[in-house]
């Protein structure tokens, strides 16, 4: 049975692109267009890995990440944050996540297993997905 990967992003182009890359490489994908929908799908489908956008309507990626990591049922699912927020726009996500890792228990729960900056390089994505699924 191929691994099931959930893609949460409000941009249909990103969803299409990511799902195509993953499907071509033998993974199953399921999709959600916002954080709220994503949370519901996780509870039903129990995906093996989640690709999560940062900014989305209804419920942001950060909020969903926090919910998932605080839930014993889902906290073991590896999450890759896929974000367009990069150093160029004034938000340095790498140091943002590093910053929270030095914080208390609550914020520690916020650490995703990996993150990728948009535009996503297919090779990088596949390498990270493979590695995380193996170690899970």
């Amino acid at each position: 049975m191929p691994e099931k990967i959930l893609i949460v992003d409000d941009d249909p182009d990103i969803v299409l692109f990511l799902s195509t890359v993953l499907k071509d490489n033998g993974y199953r994908t399921i999709e959600a267009t916002n954080g709220q929908e994503g949370l519901e799908i996780v509870r039903i489908e129990h995906p093996d890995l989640i690709l999560l956008d940062l900014m989305m309507p209804k419920k942001s990626g950060i909020s969903l990440l926090s919910d998932l990591k605080n839930d014993p049922d889902s906290k073991k699912i590896p999450i890759i944050m896929v974000t367009g927020v990069s150093g160029e726009t004034g938000h340095d996500l790498a140091s943002f996540f590093k910053g929270s890792s030095t914080g208390d228990q609550d914020s520690k729960a916020m650490i995703p297993e990996g993150y990728l900056e948009k535009p996503v390089d297919p090779e990088k994505l596949l390498g990270m997905v493979k590695k995380l699924l193996q170690s899970a």
Binding site: D10, D11, D13, I14, L16, F17, T20, V21, D24, T33, Q36, L54, M55, M56, P57, K58, K59, S60, I62, S63, T83, G84, V85, S86, E88, T89, H91, K118, P119, V120, P122
Partner: protein, 799 residues
Amino acid sequence: MKKINIAIIGGGSGCLAIMEMISGQRPRQIQMHLVGIADINPEAAGIKKARLSNIYTTFDYHDLFNIPKLDLIIELTGDPKLSQTIQHEKPDHIQLMDQRMAGLFWDFNRLDEEQLHADEEIKKRSHELRASEKEALRQKMTAEGIIYGSPTPMFVIDKSHKITYWNKACEKLTGFSSEEMIGTDRQWEPFYDHKKPLLADVIVDNDPETIRKATKNMELHKSPVVEDGYESEYFLPHLGPEGTYLYINAAPIKDDEGNIQGAIVAYQDFSERVKMTQAIKASEEETRRQKKTAEGIIYGSPTPMFVIDKSHKITYWNKACEKLTGFSSEEMIGTDRQWEPFYARKRTTLADLLIEGDTDTINDLYKDMKLRRSAMVEGAYEAERFFPHLGSKGTHLYLNAAPIKDDEGNIQGAIITYQDFSERVIMTQKIRRREAFVLNLIQNSIDGIIATGSKGDIGIFNNGAAKILGYAPEEIIGKMTYPEILSEKTGQAVRESFYSNKHGPKGKIINMEVDLLNKAKEPIPVRFSGTLLYEQEKEVGSVVFIQDLREVHRLQKEKEQAQRMAAIGSTVAGVAHYIKNILAGLQGGAYVINSAISKKDLALVGKGWAMVERNIEQIGGIVTDMLIYSRQRTPDYQKIDPNELASEVLELMEEKARIAGVTLVRDLQPGITKVSMDRTGIHNSLLNLIGNAIDSCTLEGIVNGGGIVTVKTDRPRGRGIRFIISDNGTGMDEKTQKKLFADFFTTKGYKGTGLGLPVTKKIVEEHGGKLTFKSTLGQGTVFTLMLPEKHLQADGTLQ
């Protein structure tokens, strides 16, 4: 005084030292007394000396124990065993001091002696010192006493001109106390109304030239009594209520080497003597004067005048003359002191010369007075002169001196009348000074200043104007007229502005920018301000100020260029980022299409293609935004129904709002008339603002369709149109609000270009409108887009 009896064992050098110490001791609280010495060697130095001094000696130290009232044995043999033995054998009342202790004791004593000796020396010296100080003080006090107590007014200054003594008599003479004078250089103050060096100051300065001059001017002569001293007689009008006559003697104070260290001045007041003389004369004259009441006219005349008789004595000195000179008729009449109010020293006056009929001397003496023969009065003279001694600042007088002749034509006297024109002179000087100041100001102003007469003839053309226009002032002044330095067009514009309310009120021009022609007939841009000059409502000329704008214009251009370069820089950075994202989208699309082709999945090809198309569209969007933003464009005005436009945009946003779970609320004021605006521009602006409002509701914190965006239209005060777009989204902190209109600033990551609001603002401002906002973090934001009322003309241009 307590006495200690001491015996010594061991008669060596230590013993001698102690013997010496004891014999040489000064009287103290405790007095040491040597009563015996023991040594087995009868020839020991100490034993020998003791024998000479009748002190008991023995070869067996045990004998010492029997000396009555012995208090202390000093053991000086240096044998520790012996010390121990003695300690055992000695009677209890005797103390033992061994050699070590004795050494210490001797040292202490010696130190003590030295201290005492030093103390005595100090006491002696200080006594001597005090004695010499007292002597100096006594001498000083004597000198001071002599000066201070002297009935002769005296003061002393040091070489820095500071007063060191000011005696009692001097206080009485001057009315200035020594407390207020000593230590200051105000010695002039009691004597003059302005600061000037006194004889004492001249002496202290010891400048031969100054002394020579002073000797000449002050009727100064060397003192026959005091070496290097000078003497003089003065009348000091400022000293005392009626002035004071003083005899002055001033002499230098020299040190042993002959250097001048100060000066002493002594006065003798002989006013009393003078007064007495005057009083006697006055009483004599009084009777005579009263007889001649017919001459009361002279006395009462507002013109200062006096009359002298053949013998040069004053016979009349009227009230006005009293006022002018400050000398009363009582003191003047009957004397020949007519010179006194006018000159510092006695001299022959014009009146005196008239009586003598000495016209040669008159001409000679009064050369400097602009003397002329009177045209009105036979034999009279007129003159103008400044009298520095009259009044506090001197007085300018016009004087007329006429001879009084008897029936036979013999001169019997002279009458002198005065007219004080000081006020006029002072005014003239003041005006002249102010004129010089203004002229200076005009000449040296950086601004060009040009003044013309009523016919446009140029009267003032300052250096600033010369510099700006390249003419030398002398080429212009009196030779050229306004039209020659104004181009025809400028000349007309300037005239128009002067006679209308354009560029400042009528008759004035404030900061009008025009081109003037320089010498080479090139236009020079200047800021032109000016005013027409009127005299009794008649135009008599104009004054204009011109500032060279060439430098200003050059700087402005440079600044614009720099701003453009900076804008290009940030544009490149912003666009590169955005294009990179679009490129990623295109690459993604290409990937999907490739994948679809290899899988022969046509449906997926369609999806991939759509993706490519959307990204191409995005490129189109940003290019449009950038064009709008970069180009200066005039809105393409059309009459538009604002509500219709708002509804159209709202419909377009429905889908986006639905996905985001945001409710769009329409609050459009019904019956709004059409307003002139650029349809595309305002359409895009509304799209932008509503899109932003929806985005702000979809970020963190607003869950499950709680977001509400309201679009409201109205016409405040019935003019223009106002679009208000409000949301209950995240709002903005102050930092974000500050950067809101900055180019390429975005909070939306790769989804935003950062051009939306700058473009919107630009469009609105091109309409002459205003884009404002209010935002509270966590509560929402309200954007107000206000367009002013514009009226389209038939040809499509705005009114």
